[in-house]
Every structure is written in structure tokens, then in C-alpha cells.
Symmetry: C2
Subunit: 332 residues, 2 copies
């Protein structure tokens, strides 16, 4: 979701951190395949305290990078590096960390659980942290957050999935299957798969906000140049193999899979205190599964109402940041 | 919009009529090109009265056929053949009438105005009718209805554009440009363009209702077979060249083009009494342009509220039929 770039661009650069890599050897995927080496990109901000109790993990959104997460870090942003040791992670499949484009086809069958496993190994093996103060993420980062609190319940104190989901709604499945079908049509054809990315990008853009928001915020006369810009960005953007791999990971996501499909049972396994941030008019990640699980599991909920859809995190930015800061503090 | 098929299937078959063809010689397109012969498919129901004042024209929706319009004809439906001489028309580009697939590439640059010109010639030259009691259409049929009342104002007494539009919202442009870009990627590649139609069909299906409707009416477990069925239907469905031609026609649609972009001026040219039927949650044909023009031009409005989106015409079927019957009667 390239539009998230604006966040990094618009926010004052309160924090900058170099990209680092952790090498995860013999990285085993949930598909059963094993990668000899998975390089995982990450950045850190602030200082880990003596008892290692102030770590805050932020995984990337769909196709996002840790560089793009920089806008979330700052005293008035979601993660204050003067209080927390903030770790942002490039989720596998994003083209920075191990991905089909740089490591090979075994990563075509990546899962959200694999992303979380990579992050767990980074946190425990590389950074020596046993328990996270918080996990927080936007969109696919929110899916990873739901996976963290259900699969490593004792490792997370607080969690904030933002426009994320514990499992997919049929509407999400339909949207992402359309994008994946378009890419796979070209991946199987011998033609350059980058050629389909403009169409995929337009489809994605359509669902990123809402028809009402688009009507209010775009002009008909500007559409030709806007579409041309989207197409150009898409042609030189994310590698289609990586894009497809992260789509497949999201399409397979379901934290209730180990709990007989039950939100109640999955919710009962959670030890973290959780604040779900959900956008009611979100057309890209349907808010209903997160709200349904929040309801049965007693999670806190912040409802976003604007017609920005999935991008409500932009339009209601300040409100989210204030709520999240309040929820996270005080660090223990 | 294949889902409309259910309408024909579900409604009692009160009316059946054979497919007829009118041959339009030297058919001149708004692009400037001329087709030596355009065969136009149509069906009629009921009897034309002595003064030829009871004709009701219904053009097809996007990719629709006159066969699919049969469900709209009946005493309790939208068009009662005991009162009206009902003419349903296969819009050019639908694969029945002259289309890229059967007539050639000149029709790649079809416009909504060309569809209306073909219908005007059918009505005047073939059926000998000077003025229509009513024009009524759903979706792209509603776009043709808006074109009729602004370009042939003295030929239409009553008009009912249903989930149609006088010009496109940027949200419609984004959606249909995505579908068109996907098809054109394959049309230009030498590969069989039918291969991209499953992805296009899924994208179309996503926008046909709303994420909320899909969440409420589909189950996650049924999605694999549902997607497979969509893909199979799409592969053997509408010819991609025809699908693309009608998409381009919609993308170029704007009844204000001859009125300096003004709804006021376009509305002032309308002589028909108009009832706009608009679905507030329509994600496929944004209702705002129709509502904006209705507001400045003093058209009547029936607002549909359900989360069926563009398919509100199904979910609020009986309400629409009753309102339309009341609006059309009495035939003079």
C-alpha cells in the first residue's frame, strides 16, 4: 500500500535508524519447506532498558518496508523512542527481507505465521528479548499482531492491531483473489509480469479508501494523469512475485485455525491486553472479523468512522496516535 | 453483470419474445468511423397503439442482452406489456448486436452516444415511432437513458435511469480503468485474452455489492468453490474485446460534454419528466452524479438504502417496480 509512504514523508523526521539485517539460518516455513538462510531487515529506535521490558515491535503492512514505518516513530506519534525500544521489521516477502525475488520460489508459499516466526527469532535469538512490551501493526501488520497474541501468548504484554484482522472476511478474499489471479495470469504466461501491475494497482487503489472518498477527493479531469502516475509507479514498484507471495500469505491467514474456527477459544488463549483499531468503512480489510473477535474476547476497541476506508489511519491519524499512546503507557 | 441473469430466471416468465435484428446501414460512430452494416438485436412485447404513443424502450446493462431483460417485462414487473409496447435492445458491443467480436475493430471505440444513435434509428426508421412514452434502463442502460433525454430531448416523455449516471465519478473511472487495463494487458500480448477474465470477473464482483453485503452473504468456506465458479463462467463468458469496448464506452460517458460540463445546462435541455433511482451504497456506479444532476434539474428521486450496493435493484426489487409502475402510468 504505497500510499502509506505519505505518512513517512509528511511526519516530521523525529527518528532515523539504519537498516540492519539478522540472518536466520535454517528458516523453516509452515509449508514444511526450509530456507538455508533468511535475511530479515529491521531497524531499532531508542534504548532497551536493563530488564529488557520496554520493547515495542512493529511489523510492516502489505508490501511495506521498515523505511516506510519511520513515520510511526516519534514522541507525538504511535511509538515514542524516548520510552520504548522500538523495533520495526521488514516482513518476509517485502523484497527487503527474504522474498521470492531475492531468495527463491520456496517463499512463494509464505504465511503470516512465517512472518511472525521470523520476528520471534529476531527478538529472542538476535536481540535477546523474552517478552515484548507491545506488538502493534497496521493492516497486514495488524494481522501479524493477531497472530502474535494467539501463537505466542506469553510473549506479548500489550497489542494494538490497527485495521488488521484475525481472519479474512469473504470480501477480503474476493478482492485479493482478484489481484492474485491477475498476477498469476501473467506469471504463468512467459510475459513480463510487471505489465499487469498497473491494473492491480488501480484495483488496489479503488478498495483502499471508499467510492465516496474518491468522489469527494478526486476530480474527473485529473483522473487520466492520476491513472498514468499509478501505472508508472506500479510498473517500477514491488516485484510481482513478492506482491503475490504476501497476497497468498494474507489469503491463508486465520488465527482461529488452531482453535476449531472459534473466536472464543482463540480469544481465551490471548494473554495480552488488546486494543483493536477498526475502520467501519474499510473496504480493503473488512473490520467485522476484528470487531467480532474483540466482542467475544473482551478486547478494547477504537472505531474509526470516516469514509477514508482503510486509509482512516491517515484521516484519523491524530486520534489513533493519542489513543495508542494512552494505551501503551506507562511502560513497566 | 451476469448476476442479472437471476432476475430473468427468478421472475415468472410472463413474457417471451423472439430475438429480431434491424440492419443499420452506414452506421456512423461518434469517433468518425463508419460501419457499413450494424445489426441491432431487439425484442418487442405488447402492441403499439394506433397513435404510436405507448412505446417503452429498455436498453441493456453492461454486457447484458435483451434475453436477460425479459425478467423486467410483466404486469407486476417494471414494464407491463398489456399497457406498453415494450422494446428491449441489445446495445452495440454486447456480442449480439454489432460488436468488435462480430463486426470488427472499428467498434473498439464505441460510445454511449453510439448506442443511443443505434436505438434512435431502430425506433424511427424500423419501427416508425417518433416519440417514446418512456426510456428506462439499469446501470449502463441508465447511462443510455441519461444520454437519450439530453441528446434527443423531444423524443422522450418519461425517463427512469436506474443505478445509472449522467457522467462518471472518479471512483467509477478508477474501477473500470482497472478492469480495462487488465484486459488490454492481454489484448496487447499475443496471449489469449480470455485468460485474464477470471481476475476481471472477481474484481467486478467485489464492486457489484459492498464488502458488508459480501461479509453477510458469503461464507469463508464456500469461497474457493465460488471463486472457481466465477473463473469458469468468466473464461467462457463475454468476449474480452466486447467487454473492453463497452467499458471504454462507459469511461467516455458524459452527458454534460455538450453543455460546458454543467449539470444545470444539461438539465435545462431535458424535456422528459425523470425519475432517478439511485442506490446510496452503490460501489460500481457512484450515485452522486445522478443525485447531483437530479437536484439541480428537479428530477424525482427514489433512494435505495440497502448494502446490496449496485445490486440494490435486486434486494429492493419490489419497491422499485412499484415506484416505476406508478411513475409510468397512465399511458397517454
Amino acid at each position: 500500500m504505497k500510499l502509506w509512504l505519505f505518512l513517512a514523508a509528511a511526519a516530521p523526521l523525529l527518528a532515523q535508524a539504519p537498516l540492519q539485517f539478522a540472518e536466520l539460518r535454517n528458516f523453516r516455513l509452515s509449508s514444511g519447506q526450509e530456507i538455508a538462510s533468511c535475511k530479515l531487515g529491521y531497524r531499532t529506535y531508542g534504548t532497551l532498558n536493563a530488564d529488557k521490558s520496554n520493547a515495542l515491535l512493529i511489523p510492516t503492512w502489505f508490501t511495506g518496508t521498515s523505511a516506510q514505518l519511520e513515520g510511526l516513530v516519534g514522541a507525538q506519534r504511535l511509538a515514542d523512542p524516548s520510552r520504548y525500544f522500538v523495533i520495526t521489521v521488514d516482513a518476509p516477502g517485502n523484497g527487503v527481507s527474504c522474498s521470492p525475488s531475492n531468495t527463491g520460489a520456496a517463499l512463494d508459499r509464505l504465511s503470516i505465521a512465517d512472518m511472525v516466526e521470523a520476528e520471534r527469532r529476531l527478538v529472542t535469538e538476535v536481540l535477546g528479548i523474552r517478552r515484548l512490551h507491545a506488538v502493534m501493526g497496521i493492516s497486514m501488520g495488524g494481522m501479524q499482531t493477531f497472530e502474535w497474541i494467539t501463537s505466542h501468548a506469553d510473549m506479548v504484554r500489550l497489542a494494538v492491531p490497527i485495521v488488521g484482522s484475525p481472519r479474512l472476511s469473504p470480501s477480503d478474499i474476493l478482492l485479493w483473489s482478484a489481484e492474485l489471479a491477475a498476477i498469476e495470469t501473467l506469471l504463468g504466461s512467459g510475459a513480463d509480469p510487471h505489465r499487469i501491475m498497473p491494473a492491480v494497482r488501480m484495483m488496489h487503489e479503488f478498495a483502499l479508501t471508499s467510492p465516496g472518498w474518491i468522489h469527494d477527493n478526486r476530480r474527473g479531469t485529473e483522473m487520466p494523469s492520476f491513472l498514468q502516475q499509478l501505472a508508472e509507479d506500479a510498473r517500477k514498484g514491488v516485484d510481482p512475485r513478492d506482491y503475490a507471495a504476501q497476497l497468498r500469505a494474507m489469503l491463508g491467514h486465520d488465527v482461529t485455525r488452531r482453535f476449531g474456527g472459534s473466536y472464543e477459544k482463540a480469544g481465551a488463549a490471548v494473554q495480552a491486553r488488546v486494543l483493536v483499531v477498526a475502520a467501519e468503512q474499510d473496504h480493503m480489510v473488512n473490520p467485522r472479523p476484528a470487531l467480532e473477535m474483540a466482542s467475544v474476547a473482551g478486547f478494547g476497541v477504537l472505531r474509526l468512522k470516516s469514509n477514508c476506508g482503510h486509509l482512516a489511519t491517515r484521516c484519523e491519524d491524530a486520534r489513533i496516535a493519542a489513543a495508542v499512546r494512552g494505551f501503551l503507557a506507562p511502560a513497566r
